[in-house]
Amino acid sequence: MTDIALTPDLDQSLPADAGTAPPDALGPEDRRRRRRRLAILAVLSVLAVVLLVFSGWYLLFRKPISLLPIPGFDLPPMPGYSYSLYGMGQPTGIAVTPDGSRIYVTQTSGEDAVLMLDGQGQVMAALQSPDTTTDHVFVYIAINPLTAEVYVSDRPAADVLVFAADGTFLRTFEPPASLVGWQPLGLNFTPDGHLLVTDLGANAVYEFDTAGQLLRTIGSNGMFNYPNAAAEDALGRLYVSDSNNGRLVVFGRTGELLGVIRRGPAAGDLGMPRGLEIDDQGRLYVVDNTDHSIKVYRTSADPVALPEFLGSFGEPGIGEGMFRFPNAVATDTRGRLYVADWNNDRVQVWTY
């Protein structure tokens, strides 16, 4: 817009029809209308940009709105119950592909097989041991982040079986000779593809590299009693659910003991920790079997600090969002948590 001051002198030089606005000049009412239009245009532009940014973000990451990264806003404190998957008997272990399209569930009643479900909970396949001469009870399960192979612990056979992503049996994981007679239970992978195995025979935790070589042993000095699971965070800290001692034991990158989160009544204390999982947001989930809940902690940016307790979710019962002796938890990268709700014969899915 251009403002032109019409002075009396200039008025004299104007043609006879001066004083009436030229055809391209705007009167006050026009200006108001135009300003209104521009304001509407600005608001609509902002809305359209927000919509486009959100659409692009969602289609790229497939995370719930609540995980939209807005500076200054933290994650929502606790996830909410979403739905349940049925059709399994006493699900004990669970693993999920990063996109949530495949869910592997072990069960301790019914068919001695690992169920492979699609994202909607439909059974795609049943993974079984090729050895039909002995009993099998599949307990914990983990997916190799580098190969997508599925590792399953088999309690009576004291084996770790390895399956392809489509459920084809590949091999039995061979521990080194020094571990002959081991009783593998909890399985997990570190972010760089190392396998963590808890051993009920030695009450210890082992870390194997991608070639299956034993890298380190933790807790063989009688520290643990029935360790159910181990998990490593992005800073290399190792978390072990020392189940029958009712505590979570935290080690530093080099294996030094950083501290424990104990059994007790205070917020963040534990009852009987079982399965562990760390999600892509750095949150640590601990299944508290006897508290019928999942305890949620934030792993610290300080490499020698214990995790900070954020809260817990779940309560005892058979209703939706209630647990009866949950045993394991897994997460995908889409903001979903999958809980093996053992005595309710279902997998519960929670989401942020």
Partner: protein, 325 residues
């Protein structure tokens, strides 16, 4: 005075009103189409139709069984219980009524229907069912350990309290506690009935029993205990009970403030146990252990102190770090 007037011209190249209108129309169309579209994509992408809940599945199975065996009462009991669990009290009551039409003394149905009548506010009908159950069960061989009978007495006690008859409530609750003297709910209700009657001393006994079984996570009995101590004009007892209310409300500083002054007095043992529980809530195992061991120094077999030490993982024989009581 200057005789000027101002007109505003459109800047050359500025969008015309028509262009602005067209832009507004395009943006409205983008938003009008894009918003529902991304909403539908988001919903379809995240929604999973998981079907009925556990209780819904139990109802479907039980209904199928009743369709197959309509005259089998056990099957109808299962269906009634499934309806009750699925929060369908009217359907459950209807099934129990069918069962009782065929077998008027079916105690499972009497208790189930009585409980549902009570929960839905039909207290007269509930009392009638409870009484019918009691008439059937009280003289049987198993009466002293009959949980259904105990529940019926408790139900009658609850109704009597609701209807403002604490004397009747106390009688029914005494019957209930004769069968299960560890029922903390019945003990708490008995405490309330005794307070209403004015028997504060017995009320304190009942309520202390209740909190012995459920020491934390339950505010009500401590609130009632404070009332009972108030009736006895025992200010130390009132302070202790209020401290425990604060502890169970999560107001740990208030709990400490109420309990600390009681240490060394007539309620010292209670206060030390309360302080131990407060320390546990703070995650201070060492302080909790000290409080418990101060109790054990006076009462070596104090159950609350021993179980507290067990919870915090400290041996009872470990030396005290603080003073003795």
């Amino acid at each position: 005075m200057s005789n000027t007037k101002t007109i505003r011209l459109e800047r050359p190249g500025a969008p015309t009103d028509k262009t602005l209108n067209r832009l507004i129309g395009v943006l409205i169309a983008i938003i009008a189409i894009g918003l529902p579209a991304i909403g539908v994509i988001y919903y379809l992408d995240r929604h999973v139709d998981a079907g009925p809940s556990i209780t819904g599945r139990a109802v479907i199975t039980a209904e199928e069984a009743v369709r197959q065996y309509p005259n089998q009462l056990e099957t109808r009991v299962v269906l009634a219980q499934a309806y009750a669990a699925d929060d369908r009290p009217a359907d459950a009551i209807a099934q129990y009524t069918i069962i009782l039409g065929a077998e008027p003394v079916n105690t499972t149905a009497l208790l189930g229907r009585g409980d549902l009548y009570r929960k839905t506010g039909q207290l007269g009908a509930a009392a009638s069912d409870y009484q019918a159950l009691i008439d059937v069960a009280r003289d049987t061989e198993m009466a002293n350990i009959d949980r259904a009978l105990q529940s019926a007495y408790y139900g009658l006690g609850l109704i009597a309290m609701t209807q403002g008859r604490p004397d009747d409530a106390a009688t029914q609750l005494a019957n209930s506690l004769r069968i299960d003297r560890t029922d903390a709910d019945a003990l708490d209700l008995m405490g309330q009935a005794l307070i209403a009657i004015g028997d504060y001393e017995t009320a304190v006994e009942a309520l202390r029993d209740a909190v012995a079984f459920v020491p934390t996570g339950w505010v009500d009995p401590y609130t009632h205990l404070a009332q009972a101590y108030e009736g006895l004009a025992d200010q130390g007892g009132v302070a202790y009970a209020n401290g425990m209310v604060a502890l169970n409300d999560g107001r740990l500083d208030d709990a400490d403030a109420a309990l600390q002054p009681l240490v060394g007095g007539s309620h010292s043992r209670d206060a030390l146990i309360g302080l131990g529980l407060t320390a546990e809530q703070r995650g201070d195992a060492a302080a909790a252990a000290d409080f418990y061991r101060r109790v054990l120094a006076v009462v070596p077999d104090d159950f609350a102190a021993l179980s507290g030490l067990s919870r915090v993982g400290v041996p009872a024989t470990a030396p005290l770090s603080g003073s003795t009581p």
